[in-house]
Symmetry: C2
Amino acid sequence: MRESEVIERLRRIATAPEARGLLDDVAVLDGYVVTHDSIAEGVHFLPQDPPASVGWKLVAVNLSDLAAKGAKPAGALLSLTISGPAEWALDFLGGIEAACESYGLPLLGGDTIGLPPAAPRVLGMTVIGRAAGEVPHRAGGKAGDSLWLVGTVGDAAAGLALLEQDPNATGVLVDIYRRPVPQLGAGAALAPHVDAMMDVSDGLLLDARRLAEASGCGATIELDLLPLSSAYVAERGQDLSARLFAAAGGDDYALLAALPREFDLETLSLPRGTRISRIGSLSGAGPALSLTFAGEPVELPERLGFEHQSNSDRGLSAAPMADRP
Amino acid sequence: MRESEVIERLRRIATAPEARGLLDDVAVLDGYVVTHDSIAEGVHFLPQDPPASVGWKLVAVNLSDLAAKGAKPAGALLSLTISGPAEWALDFLGGIEAACESYGLPLLGGDTIGLPPAAPRVLGMTVIGRAAGEVPHRAGGKAGDSLWLVGTVGDAAAGLALLEQDPNATGVLVDIYRRPVPQLGAGAALAPHVDAMMDVSDGLLLDARRLAEASGCGATIELDLLPLSSAYVAERGQDLSARLFAAAGGDDYALLAALPREFDLETLSLPRGTRISRIGSLSGAGPALSLTFAGEPVELPERLGFEHQSNSDRGLSAAPMADRP
């Protein structure tokens, strides 16, 4: 497999400025933010996952990309493949409908195709959003910026781990894994002020390194400051190992924002209940990613998140959501 | 399988006016025309098809939808699944690049995911176009309109039939099957004047019936007037049976336009070499579709084109391009 060559090739084709070098999860065309995510059965969702939750998640992961750009949902196109009983597709559409209603996203069209028997389902969605002004780039971070996280990390990864032990597991963490919440309101409030912003889908450590590298900076994450939910702490604790698991977990759909250090968050009108936490900073020198815990440096774990890799060496749990080109 | 229920369900979700009732292959959002088509290995293309031609075709079938709306290509998002050797994906991207270059379509982004081993590839593309004014609908046809066809019909179906006999077949018809040409220039020239327009992708008879039904009219096609290429005539002749095969063949990516009877085509500046033929008319009464040959009525063939149907009863040759929701 030479998938890095495939990505390289894509970058050589996508040279228009609107493509943002394929670095930014979204394209920006005139005043519109456009993104597409696909998910495959057996890779991004489990065959036994409730189909409605798969539909919900497909909408939410796309909206999370809009959230990170401060854009307002304008419309979606669905790519629906039908394989096996039609009930699955009907239930899946129930989840699509619920998420579209929840977030005011009109479904505008798409394509429905049948697959050969027993083929794993591949489901895709294109979402178009209206930008509210300048669209934040992940590459805009500056040395001295503080790094802020909207939401929590680790819940989805902990939920997936529970499902791997017991496919019938239930509870808050499983719910969060299956029904992520895009941070549209917080993203819109932050967008005019950030130097850089992206959503955390592949793991905070991996995504923070990407933001830092794209910005030509080094990121330091203070693991003590990681926002963990009480459900997460009840399940996994909050020691260094629990924090590293959360930071590399992925599927969080939190927002990572780089803001000038002096920026006063009190001036923002964030949606009620928004959890926003300073988790580190950007510097002009040093490695792309460094970690500290209780003031001491911590070695990087071997795995920072879900890297784009060949499916031959990728287990299901290793890729809830693959890297985007 | 209850796929009609799936389509019904989609229609109930997609109620925004921009969705055009899911009748029109495209959505129209502000001044933009947006469309998505997906193709699956073993359904819409053959595993042994040259990957570059699959890439070309994915771009061309999406651009054909823009052509039918008179829109100008603005950008594309690609949904790329990787399965098997990366060489396939690299060659596929070569075809994507060539078609994007040919038609001035910037690739802006998308998503790349790995599939489980041996899963058939599913490839999708969203294309966004800029509308040049009012966007023609397929539902706008009026009693008394003449039906015009841009391009020819039957070539791709004849090419596919050759490939089914011999996977190594070559020649003009095979080339047309693999590398359809979207009629962007003609579509843009016609769009301000048509009452209705759509591209012919599932078979002329089926698509003409759809246009007539959506418009509340009856369509009559005069099979004598069907434009056939010399390559088609050399391979299959031009008798009634050859004309019915061409008219139900599909994968043509011709344009079907309803124009006021008195409209003078000489006033248009169509691209040099555009083949445009009057093939019938719309009436206010009668069945949705009637055929004539040499002035005599002809019974409708059992199959009008490639209906959306369950893959369990669909052979490969029965679905080069499925119906869209």
